[in-house]
Amino acid sequence: MKEALNIKKILITLFIFAFGLLFLSPFFWMLSASFKPEAEVFRYPVQWIPETWHAVENYKKVWFGTHPPFYHYYWNSIKVVILTTMTSIIVSSLAAYSFAKLNFKGKDILFLIVLATFMVPSQSLFVPQFILFRWMNLYDTHLALILLHSFSVLGTFMLRQFFLGILNDYLDSGKMDGAGHLRIFTHIALPMVLPAIATYGILRFIWTWNDYQMPLIFLHSIDLYTLQLGIRQFADENGQIYSLQMAAAVLAVVPLLIVFLIAQKQVIEGIQLGGVKG
């Protein structure tokens, strides 16, 4: 039965659309202010389309005009995020496969311990982690951030659910062919849960990119700052120049929005599945 276009449904859609515009108005305001010369940023009523375009000058100033330059923060973030995501996927998928498909003594207890650590809020660990990392000479390094984000209980739990869904017959056929466990894992099991790994990888990417607390506590040198610390630093230095602050904010949000728009299905499903942030 095909649904006819109905007036009521169109009206409600338009209303929700208008409300959506209002809901996202901070983003539009940010974008529009980042294109304006400073003198026009606060003109009221708000000019959503700038009267004078100052976009190139603003973005140039943000991108090249700071010390260290803004792209330096970008590079730091990209480095940390990619290494974290890769390490985390390797660590979690190995453990998840083992918990789901291999038999060894003490498995259930170990899994319970892993799950129990999920209850510990990351913030209650800052102080001892800080002491420990300083002692290991990892304070003020990117490696510290990568290590702090690489051992995810949530990721392991999510992937385990997917490995559990694989029929043992597939794995057994690998054993028949004489393949070792590592080969069965990389050639049979892993390809079957690739969508789940992609989902987790994208979430890990977003969480690590947005992380502010860990870099704030574990980084000291401005050269090592990730983007989140970088925009804060930039905003503090340019306290009175709001058009530049908005341009910096846009630059921080855009890569995320691109990732989100490309992978929105995975992101939304992953959030619905994992249900938790962190």
Binding site: T13, I16, F23, L24, P26, F27, W29, F42, Y44, I90, V91, S92, L94, A95, S98, F99, L102, N103, F104, I113, V114, V120, P121, Q123, S124, L125, F126, V127, P128, Q129, F130, I131, R134, L147, S150, F151, V153, H181, L182, W209, N210, Y212, Q213, L216, I217, R232, Q245, M246, A248, A249, A252, V253, L256, L257, F260, I268, I271, Q272, G275, K277
Partner: protein, 295 residues
């Protein structure tokens, strides 16, 4: 024949979980034990290991007479005041978008965007929008006849309220997306049967949607409490607990004591109290899921 195979599987099993277990031990288990130990000392991390002195429960006694810490706990509770409204509105919007409109997927993206956009950038944008003299929000208020609009984040009486608005705006998409998933799990046949019986939309909502969504609502309530307890980034960027501690929350106070005042022992006591709170909420979650939630 069987024996070597099993032995091998055991070894491989341990090898595969080893990286995760070693990581969790170093990153979580040792630190939480250390936190417990340190919470009974008056150590400062700059003073060298030989200066650790055991002071029993003193940190905890001091904590419960610490007016700023008490204020921060009250603020954490106040932060929850917006939660029921947020959930109710998220459910309302989820129902409309799930059933009554076109381009469902597009609207999911729209309302979810703030949640993934990164708190620091959002905080900077809101700081400018809420600017007491130049900001568009106050300009608008003045244009509709409010001559003395509040100073928002700079105003002691409004700073916390402003934070609640921004926090709710960021978190809204999460509740909304989870409710959409919950709604899609309700079998259509229930509604069809109700329609045949002549139940009104309101009665269907009250007797089908709401009860079927009770696990979702309970889950959102618990995660909402936990995430409001963990609020840090917004405060760190926008107010640093001020003006005059009006926006101080437990985690930010912990951060200040640990990394500004360098009171390692005292900060550890704060982290143990926070840990205990979250543990209690998690236990309520476990018990509650079995007892109060319709399955």
């Amino acid at each position: 024949m069987m024996k070597p195979v099993r032995l091998k599987e055991t070894t491989v099993g341990y090898l595969f979980v080893a990286p995760l277990l070693i990581g969790i031990t170093v990153i979580t288990i040792i630190p939480i034990l250390a936190s417990f130990g340190l919470s009974f000392t008056n150590w400062s991390l700059v003073s060298g290991i030989e200066n650790i002195h055991f002071i029993g429960m003193n940190n905890f006694n001091r904590l419960f007479h610490d007016a700023v810490f008490m204020k921060s706990l009250v603020n954490n509770l106040l932060l929850l005041a917006a939660l029921p409204f947020k959930l109710a509105f998220a459910l309302f919007l989820a129902i409309i978008i799930n059933k009554y409109i076109y381009f469902k997927d597009f609207f999911k993206i729209v309302y979810f965007m703030p949640f993934i956009s990164g708190v620091v950038a959002i905080a900077i944008v809101f700081r400018v929008m809420f600017h007491p003299t130049y900001g568009p929000v106050n300009n608008m208020l003045m244009s509709i006849g409010i001559d003395h609009p509040p100073g928002w984040l700079a105003d002691m009486d409004f700073a916390f309220f402003s934070l609640i608005i921004i926090f709710t705006w960021i978190q809204f998409g999460f509740s909304f997306i989870i409710y959409i998933a919950g709604l899609q799990n309700i079998s259509r046949e229930l509604y069809e049967a109700a329609s045949i019986d002549g139940a009104s939309a309101w009665r269907q909502f009250k007797h089908i949607t709401l009860p079927m969504l009770s696990p979702t609502t309970f889950f959102l309530l618990i995660t909402g409490i936990i995430s409001s307890f963990k609020i840090f980034d917004l405060i760190a960027v926008l107010t640093e607990g001020g003006p005059a501690n009006s926006t101080m929350v437990a985690i930010y106070y912990l951060y200040q004591r640990a990394f500004v005042n360098l009171e390692t022992g005292y900060a550890s006591a704060i982290s143990i109290v926070i840990f205990a709170f979250i543990l209690i909420i998690t236990l309520i979650n476990w018990v509650g899921q079995r007892r109060w939630v319709h399955q």
